[in-house]
Assembly symmetry: C2
Homo-oligomer: 478 residues x 2
């Protein structure tokens, strides 16, 4: 039995599900349907299936702690969490995974999966993968296609030689890029087409050969980035120098649309890329969909979502609308124009609207924090520190901080003094004092921080020691 | 020259402008259009006009500190702030004002005004009042009518004998209650009708006589409630015993629709009761109206409002919608069905949705507070204490409190200790400790309070002393 390594792609940062998905916290990490996130569902999809190894994750530096946290929450120990120094699209990312695995496991099969799609039927998915294994071992690149049920212009399509049959791999005639409506209608009627879900199974060596044939310029710099990768805590950081030289290209353009040895197996399950709020509405059954604290009076064909506890959404007489409410941002859109959310986010970004990209909750290796109140000269934050975690040893030039522990036990260092604070105790960190916060316990520490001072930006930080090796990054950190 | 006393009615708590207007903070106190609130605009409307005295306000106990604060902010010293022990509709409220004024100023004229309407042209309003004065002195009840510009079914109408003429009082033929559309269209076409704005000018004695003739049962209990009224700080609290016996009735039913001595002067100005969000949209010029932090793409005929800093609203492809966003509540409604907001609030109330009635910011005599975070076992509040104000001397059975001053200077009593805290200083109030917070300074004190404990309700309070005499009220207070 060959070893199958799920390769999880999660460097993307889609904005079409704004405000829930933002650059700093994209949709694959957000609970959207049911329990868990799309990323967690993808990571668990092959868990425990025969011959399947631990997944390899490819992501960027910003998301690495979210990835680690969400894997840990599912009890998944990854084969590796590979960090791209810069986004280069799917081609180089997948090639890096193949190069890494080929070195360690020469016979490895890669099962490449986007992590921002929904696939409800795991058994059907596994059956399709099992049907693809012999073909992948025979040197084919095996993609998995979705049976279309509408003339969708937002997806790529795959042409087969004849009508698809469950569990049977067929030669791919060609890949069709996002079509116009007439072409999509024709393909739907024709019955020989599947949607391209971006999932494929391939032997590491076969993929390397295909890249060597169709995009040979990628091989050397990606190979050097993998060879020069360095371990960083639980992460594998690709070498930035060679990576900078790598061409930005999708795996479709680099390989799939050019290679001859491509076959497709139909995936006998529902599937959605949850590409916009209209798709989320559809995945939830269509009609009037209410999620969270919602009062809907006489509404039809609409998705009404309240994202947080303590915020109530009322809809009256709505037709075909999407309403997504968060305390810092609200979207109301014609459902049939949901794809324009991307343009709205660009507009906001151009006007420097903070909510365009920044999520209210900020994830850090040690836990997360969120701002509860921000005003002239003061800021109030809720800070949650994971068991065993520690903030860096740091000081601030412009602000003093008060910490009040509301649950758990914190170990606090201020200057030369170290003390334990339990629930209901507080400490004052004067301006300029070197301090550190650690959670030595077994449960999370929750504390309220009140900052006072003339300047309260995250970049007012001098870091002396950090167990998470964050010295080489720019941007705010603590 | 007779003395004219504006009588400001502001006991109402309209829900049709939810979520901005809620039971605990209704629309007359909310800044809705331009600077200041509708209540402040009403209180200022006759300010400084010849012969006009300070206004008399009639409100309920819940709103008395908001009334006092908003008058003070405009520099208005009221003749009295009269507190109704219970809501009894406009009839008893106006009669109480008349009885009170008749005792002090036998020749007084009352200019009765709702305080939740918008009247942009003060000069036109004053001219109409001036035209009404001789008729009021001659024993007439002089109402003021609005020239209709649409077949509005949401207002009462007034029938005249002939077409209205600016500055001329005419006999009222009859009052027409909210009509059906066909009747409204006929009245609009007919040209002899005005809208009833609920404003009127009348001599105190004339009103008492009219009540004596048409609703005589009101005279004795209202008279006793006024005679037994007691001063309470800056307020005049009507006697609850006799007031409980008073019939609940509007001034329209009690007097206006029955009396023969009624005349009407047309108000030569725009006017709106801002009765629902559709009216707010109309008052703001119609079309696409954006208020606050809003990004609107291809929206028409819609009102998009973001009420607080830090919350951004995005609209895409919207037609004839109302969107009103607050951090704790969001309304999205078909604009033409805006009056159904009232029904939605009733639905929420039936389901015990807190946001149906409770406004996030809670006004108290000493200032206000709002909850920033509420979770199991802790709550974070922002508290603002006005200069010279003090919270009651109190203790809690179930919670401890941390106070951190972020601006201003607070005087804090905990047990036997009294100390001054300035910006950046903090204090801990243990569970059970008797404590008080006072602002001895000239600027507001802003502080962050972190509560910890098993029960954090506002009713966990034992009050020992209170400069605002709040011992005789039920409900949460501090």
């Amino acid at each position: 039995m060959p070893e199958i390594f799920p390769v999880l792609l999660c460097g993307g940062s889609g904005t079409r599900l704004w405000p829930v998905s933002r650059k700093s916290f994209p949709k694959q990490f957000v609970p959207l349907a049911g329990q868990g996130t799309l990323f967690q569902a993808a990571a668990s999809r092959m868990l425990g299936a025969p011959g399947v190894a631990s997944p390899l994750v490819i992501t960027n530096a910003d998301f690495r702690f979210i990835v680690a946290e969400q894997l840990a929450a599912e009890g998944i120990k990854p084969a590796a969490i590979m960090i791209e120094p810069a986004a280069k699209n799917t081609g180089p990312a997948i090639l890096a995974a193949a190069a890494h695995l080929a070195g360690l496991h020469p016979e490895a099969l890669l099962l490449v999966m986007p992590t921002d799609h929904a696939i409800p039927d795991i058994d059907a998915f596994r059956a399709a993968v099992a049907a693809g294994v012999p073909r992948a071992l025979a040197g084919q690149i095996v993609t998995f296609g979705i049976r279309p049920d509408r003339p969708e212009t937002g997806y790529g399509w795959i042409e087969l030689q004849s009508a698809p049959v469950e569990g049977v791999a067929q030669k791919v005639q060609r890949f069709v890029e996002k079509p116009v409506l007439e072409a999509a209608e024709a393909m739907l009627a024709e019955g020989r087409y599947l949607w391209n879900a971006g999932i494929f199974l391939v032997a590491a060596k076969v993929l390397l050969d295909a890249v060597g044939e169709h995009a040979p310029d990628l091989l050397a710099p990606v190979g050097e980035a993998v060879a020069g990768a360095r371990a960083d805590l639980d992460f594998l950081r690709l070498a930035g120098g060679p990576w900078a030289e790598v061409r930005d290209i999708s795996i479709d353009f680099a390989v799939m649309e050019k290679a001859a040895n491509i076959e497709v197996v139909p995936l006998g399950t529902a599937w959605s890329d949850l590409g916009d709020w209209n798709a989320v509405w559809r995945e939830n059954g269509g009609g009037m969909v209410a999620q969270g604290a919602v009062t809907a009076i006489d509404c039809e064909g609409s998705l009404l979502r309240s994202e947080v506890e303590g915020q109530h959404v009322v809809g009256i007489g709505l037709n075909d609308l999407v309403v997504v409410a968060m305390p810092d941002a609200v979207l109301v859109a014609d459902r049939t124009r949901a794809q324009e959310v991307k343009a709205a986010v660009s507009q906001m970004k151009a006007r420097s609207v903070r909510q365009a990209e920044v999520f209210p909750r900020d994830h850090r290796p040690w836990g997360w924090f969120e701002t509860l109140a921000l005003a002239d000269r003061f800021q109030v934050k809720r800070i949650v520190v994971k068991p065993g975690a520690a903030l860096s040893l740091q000081s601030h030039v412009h602000r003093a901080e008060h910490w009040i522990v509301v649950s758990g036990t914190a170990q606090v260092t201020v200057g030369d003094e170290v003390k334990l604070l339990s629930e209901n105790q507080s400490v004052y960190v004067p301006l300029g004092a070197v301090h550190r916060l650690t959670n030595p316990g077994k449960v999370p520490v929750v504390l309220i921080e009140v900052q006072t001072g003339a300047y309260l930006g995250e970049d007012d930080i001098i870091r002396y020691e950090d167990i998470y090796a964050r010295g080489d990054e720019n941007g705010p950190a603590r």
